[in-house]
Subunit: 890 residues, 2 copies
């Protein structure tokens, strides 16, 4: 290496320098260095650090000072080690230039092979290998990669020329092409490069290398890489390393080849070597699927020595890394070279099985095993999926934008989605992309399929918010909305045809596939893993459930209490809604009281069911929360209907009068901003009889159960308290009704009354709330997020949040992933204040964030007592809470 | 005094014990003690402390242990000093029992006179005074007070019996009644007491005293006292003291009498003794207005010795207290007794004049003078008022619920208010009370008059919020809504009649009185006082103004900058609205750009006007803030109109199609919660061309003015920023347009770009906002209050806030008076964080709180740089800022 222009921080390492830092060298560079250190057969090379990449961006896409000189010096060193010379017409050194970030992003960034070939060295390679065809093929490949990656030209044009040539010769596969054909194609490709870029394909091999390094750096910020990071919550601040590796060739004859392999099955987790090998091919041929590769196991017979060596290396690497490895290797003229070793991506099922097996094999301990399973990925296990027994063809693949599978008839507009679904049909809404105008159609559909848009597109964000399957950005899909027709890779589809989408994998299939609903109990291996999690976690896991069925499901999944039982859903049920409306529309206190009296038995019955289902565990029942007009007919519909009746029946008709009366009352209750209006405890203060009825129903239910010997633990939660006086009044009212019922029935029962902390003011006066009655806190982070940001979720998630995510104003949707800096800081304040006056104050979270791993980790930092989430997210929360407790999740 | 049952804290003091603590003895008790100490003629007596009152409430309305014994002992001491005996049939000691809190609450609490009279002592009083008529009249008065105050019976019944008696005798005034009549009335009154309370009027004089003390304690929490404290922001925790004073009688003949006097004119502040004297009368007769009293100055001729003595005492007291005194005195058989001395209530004009005069007279210094004027009261000077030249009869008086005078035609329903005002008529809405259903009528009316309700009634709260005059709780008003008629004290009024109300005084007059609009410049004396204030205050005073006229007005009142210039009001103007609508409804970016191009000259012209008016001073211009649909027709109206067109013209008619197109777009823009929707900087990020146009208009205007030699200081304010990225993007966009314009025009100009801090999240990431561009902060406390509390002002002030104030869940409307505990704490956080990264960060407030004294005082505590308020509140803010700076306002 040259001594000049040494940077303050070393930004280039040879594989044998024993630096194996993933942060600095990326996964690929670190893996190559580690394998080199372990004495495994790795071609020589060096890695330019992620730090250099970050510096490159910090300086406005300019190489750090002296980097080029250091690269050139490193190449000289490589020449010394390999005995080949870069650009030597006789024995040319060829290299690959590979990307690699700290966190693996398979296929998202660029790699360039065969670099160092030019019009002269190609001849040297031909004579050196004695294989002119191979040399020109290699050169052809390099020119193609250069054109598509460095110049960003369209690959199709090159493919078409190749196809043309095959047609000319009447052949159908690449191997059938001879040296002359490849040579001719190289000429044609170079002509395209000249034409499109205005300059010749560079013959200077150093210039080739410098351009390639720049292209790899640039690929860190390609759209697909950014989208991938966004979707996988990978920071933009990592940067990519660039490894420059001496080329080895798998396409130098039948004693050569290339393969990829996993040390265990990444789909099932089974302990078998899993992978593919292609004779006489380069790595890209495996991916391109030009020939069908053989299974890795078949190597045992075809290349027994290589196979044994590889198996031994694979096992050694798995033991070394104590995890399943994803390996790439090449055999050049009978010699095995390892090109990559990294921890393997795996399915959720596989992750669980592998974690358990590695513990059993003594490779890792239980805590490590807990850290090996991505809690979020468990979500996939609890969505509908396509029956594995189904034999089907994937018509196309898009982005797995919102998990779960859905089957339905194709519709091409939101209005059609509503119309078909109102006829009782399952539909899948198929659009080029969705906009806020399509939301009613998304609500009506079982799933959404779009041709355009990424993980933060409107369709993706809104579907995730709704918990509906979505496959987005499916480029093979062409839609003609006017004629209500589409094609997928040329296959025609019309409105009403069945289609099946899998938002977990991104797969789309034409026809109606059998779906498997989510499991009602935990799979056995997962149950074992979660039992280990239970040993480690500090927080309890509760569930949000409004019905006995949901409560039972939650309990089966391990919930230790109900953190949020919403009573308004009970009000919405069809047999009750008319009585609820009567209560709201009541003109006199007597009429209101009468309606409430009739609602009481319904509510009591609701509470009997859920308290019984959760016998022995706490059930937190939230008193009525939404604005009253949510229970009334839509103002817009009423306006139209009343106007129609006025014009058709006249203002004296009873129909008009009836409609007008309801309209007037609905207008009266109408609010500009109902989210900030007469709701939560304000309802309970202005209409104390409503809360009184609800509290009575809770305690009558509890008393009935106690008399039947059931252990009930009701907790009454007052929503939306923002001041000490609200707390005092609602607490006292609730307590007096509760105690009255207990006295009437002669029952003794321990219970608590607390509040949902969901307003910024509640957080900053939290100590006051405790002093004025609150016996527990439960963070309502959905509403707290709304007021902290000043975002109405209903409005924002359909309009500006997708745009904010695209523009990276928000790194995450704060309604999906808790905003630690803003909302989290207020929560921290509330915890500190609440516990300053009552150190053992029970505090939980019952917003939707309670089932999201990163948010769960934050709750652990806040030292909450429990997180509460939807039943299917209880397993995720159990694992995430354990990971947070052992420091494996931050 | 008895030695037994001595409390740990002494809770009873004789006037001559030299304790003059107002906190402990109340204003009245302290005044009596102080006058006694000064050797002035004060009847002997003692005061039970406010502490005893608080203890009484703390113990659940039970007298503190031993208090009764201590009172009885004190009475015995009083007997010793006066030589009279309590309950002595021969020479009875009579006392008055008077209330008195630390802060004067005139007329709000109870006083009982002539206590100690019973069926026996009345005879003793008669023989002792040789005046049987006087004795029975005194007894009659006492029984009436006892019945109405202790037993809470209706005074009317007693008055009716009195009237009956006069009718029987064919006389019309009290003095015409003889001893027998009073004696008969006493019998009848005692019969009512027996009938209503189920027990006889108490003959035991000690029992009388104990009951009276209890009644005074209880009157601290009477509804009117609570309402008064609420309205005047007096704490509920002070309690009242009770003074027991030997009775002196002004009604013992022509050498007796009673008077009230102010040492200066409390209306104008003029330095003349001001007051009234009534010969041969008790104090209550002056108040009752039974006979016309003479002017205090007339005493000089009728009772020269008394007059000289009184003048000397008055001057001595004014010098002693260094303030204008409100004095009560009685002359008993030629001897002067002082019964009260307290600082006088005064009008705003008088307060200013007196403060100035006292400084000139060397009695107080300027700082003290500043503390003598209630900043809030200055508000009255800047509302319309009834022309003092008008000679008119006050038809009735109600509560002065919202200041200012209004004249208009009477309407009895909100719908009528709208209908009449749409015909161009000024109307006053007259209602028994208002509800949220009346708000549209309140908006349409010039003022509001109600028969029921206090200072926290719906009418009062909403009218204050709107800045409209309101007289509430006018009990003389009877309304028959069906026939659209009313009577005021029996005078009939019908719909369409003119009426004038004065919300500053509570007066109502029938007919149309001439009103004087608020002054355009500062009155001279106020200007002097405010110039002293300017020497003391630390904070600057800026104004909120959207027009050049408002800016000029603000400047005339002393504004040192514009803190908030709202650009949306410019969008609302009639000639621009169609272009704004075109911009919003645009289907293409080109159409939007075209509309914006046409708006640019309008905006530029707006900014030229305001920047020129404020030459040399900063003008903070807020970019577009409200949701776009605020500029479009109402969705409700459109729904009705479109339905009508569909049914009358058909769906093929151009009218229907046009209406339907607009409807669809309005529906598309419609939001569930526009306050939390696509507004503030979100608009500027999603439609950057809007903000770009506005910034261009600002800087084109600035450049034009600079070229004309005008010193312009534009400050661009980005509304509703909640995250660092929003700040960065909007800052960079605004800066690049601004610099582009300056470059185009070749102008150099210093300007700033900052943000309106109006979201809880902005407060807790305030340091980030500074790091990402914000060059100043301005608290938008209206919106910050909305999100911190989760209250939509539009909805809350018409619905639950009035109820919350009534139920004392809120002590103040947080939209009127800054909520220090919640909102204020977030502000504090923002200030700390902002200045942690930029110590000299300029921070102001531009919410409506900026003109409210208590909120201004809080801003001083936060060390803000300026407060910004509406032009008419600039004088208030100047004074309040000075008071806060010198510690006279907290």
């Amino acid at each position: 290496m040259s001594a000049r222009a040494q940077p303050t921080v070393k930004d280039l390492y040879f594989f044998n320098e024993s630096n194996t830092s993933r942060d600095l060298l990326g996964g690929k560079g670190a893996g190559l260095a580690e394998m080199t250190a372990a004495g495994l057969p790795v071609p020589p090379g060096f890695t330019i650090t992620t730090q250099a990449c970050l510096q490159y961006y910090a300086d406005g896409r300019v190489f750090p000072e002296g980097l080029i000189a250091r690269v050139d010096a490193a190449v000289a060193e490589l020449e010394r080690r390999t005995g080949q010379r870069f650009g030597d017409p006789a024995a040319p050194l060829l290299v690959s230039v590979r990307s690699g970030a700290r966190i693996s992003m398979p296929g998202m960034m660029d790699t360039i092979l065969n670099l160092g070939l030019n019009d002269e060295t190609v001849l040297g390679l031909a004579s050196l290998t004695g294989n002119e065809r191979f040399a020109w093929d290699a050169y052809r490949r390099f020119v193609t990669m250069y054109a598509t990656i460095v110049l960003d030209l369209d690959k199709d044009e090159f493919e078409e020329l190749l196809d043309d040539r095959k047609r000319e010769l009447g052949v159908s596969t690449d191997p059938e092409l001879d040296a002359a054909s490849w040579k001719m194609l190289v000429d044609r490709y170079k002509a395209i490069v000249r034409e499109r870029s205005g300059r010749d394909f560079p013959q200077d091999v150093h210039e080739q290398l410098h351009l390639a390094i720049r292209a790899v750096f640039d690929s860190w910020n390609s759209k697909r890489a950014i989208d991938y990071r966004r979707f996988n919550r990978i920071s933009d601040d990592l940067g990519t390393a660039v490894s420059v590796v001496q080329m080895v060739f798998g396409n130098m004859g039948e004693d050569s080849g290339t393969g990829v392999a996993f040390t265990r099955d990444p789909n099932t987790g089974e302990r078998v070597l899993f992978g593919e090998y292609l004779h006489n091919a380069q790595g890209e041929d495996v991916v391109a699927g030009i020939r069908t590769p053989e299974r890795i196991a078949d190597l045992e017979s075809s290349m027994p020595t290589i196979y044994r060596q590889f198996v031994e290396i694979a096992q050694r690497l798995e033991r070394h890394y104590r995890d399943v490895q994803d390996l790439e290797f090449t055999v050049e003229r009978g010699k095995l070279y390892m090109l990559q070793a990294r921890s393997a991506k795996r399915s959720a099922e596989a992750a669980v099985r592998i974690a358990l097996d590695l513990v059993e094999e003594g490779m890792i301990d239980r805590r490590t095993a807990l850290g090996r399973v991505d809690a979020s990925a468990l979500d996939h296990l609890f969505h509908a999926r396509i029956d594995p027994a189904e034999q089907f063809e994937v018509a196309c693949k898009g982005l797995n934008a919102s998990p779960g599978a859905a089957a339905g008839r194709v519709v091409f507009s939101a209005d059609d989605a509503v119309a078909w679904s109102q006829r009782g049909e399952d539909v899948v809404l198929v659009r080029v992309e969705t906009t806020p105008d399509d939301v009613h159609g998304m609500i009506a559909a079982r799933g959404v399929l779009t041709a355009k848009g990424g993980a933060t597109s409107h369709a993706a964000v809104v579907a995730r918010g709704m918990g509906k399957p979505c496959v987005a950005g499916c480029e093979a899909l062409q839609i003609d909305r006017r004629t209500k027709h589409a094609t997928i890779n040329g296959v025609p589809i019309k409105e009403g045809d069945w289609i099946t989408i899998d938002g977990t994998t991104g797969a789309v299939a034409i026809g109606r596939l059998q779906l498997i609903p989510p499991p009602a109990t935990l799979p056995e291996r997962l149950a074992t893993l979660l039992s280990w999690a239970d040993d480690e976690r500090r927080m309890q896991i509760w569930a949000n459930a409004d019905t006995p069925e949901d409560a039972r499901k939650a309990r089966a999944f391990g919930a230790e209490g109900i953190g949020l039982c919403r009573t308004e859903h009970m009000f919405m049920q069809q047999d009750r809604l008319p009585v609820v409306q009567e209560m709201i529309l009541a003109n006199t206190p007597e009429a209101r009281a009468s309606a409430l009296t009739r609602l009481l038995p319904f509510q009591r019955e609701d509470f009997v069911g859920i308290l019984e289902a959760m016998a022995g565990l706490p059930v937190t029942i939230r008193l009525l929360d939404p604005p009253l007009h949510e229970f009334l007919p839509s103002l817009e519909t009423l306006l139209v209907e009343t106007t129609e009746l006025r014009l058709t029946k006249g203002i004296e008709s009873p129909e008009y009068k009836r409609s007008d009366t309801v309209l007037k009352r609905v207008q009266q209750l109408h609010e500009q901003n109902p989210m900030l209006g007469l709701r939560v405890c304000r309802l309970g203060i202005l209409y104390p009889e409503i809360y009184a009825m609800q509290v009575r129903a809770i305690f009558e239910a509890a008393c009935d159960l106690v008399k039947r010997g059931v252990d009930v633990r009701p907790e009454v939660m007052i929503p939306g308290v923002g001041s000490a006086r609200e707390m005092r009044i609602t607490y006292d009212n609730a307590k007096s009704v509760a105690d009255e019922v207990l006295k009437e029935r002669g029952v003794t029962l321990s219970y608590h009354i607390g509040t949902m902390v969901e307003l910024p003011r509640a957080c900053v006066v939290a100590d006051d709330l405790v002093l004025h009655g609150a016996e527990f806190f439960s963070f309502g982070t959905n509403d707290l997020t709304q007021t902290t940001y000043g975002f109405s979720r209903d409005d924002a998630e359909n309009s500006f949040i997708p745009r904010y995510l695209e523009q990276r104003i928000l790194t995450d949707d704060p309604f999906q992933i808790l905003d630690r800096k803003g909302v989290g800081w207020l929560m921290h304040e509330a915890v500190q204040r609440g516990r300053s006056v009552q150190p053992d104050l029970k505090i939980g979270i019952c917003g939707e964030h309670g089932g999201e791993p990163s948010s769960v980790a934050f709750c652990e930092q806040l030292k909450l007592d429990y997180v509460s989430c939807s039943p299917y997210r209880v397993p995720i929360a159990r694992l995430a809470a354990a990971q947070a407790a052992i420091g494996a999740l931050e």
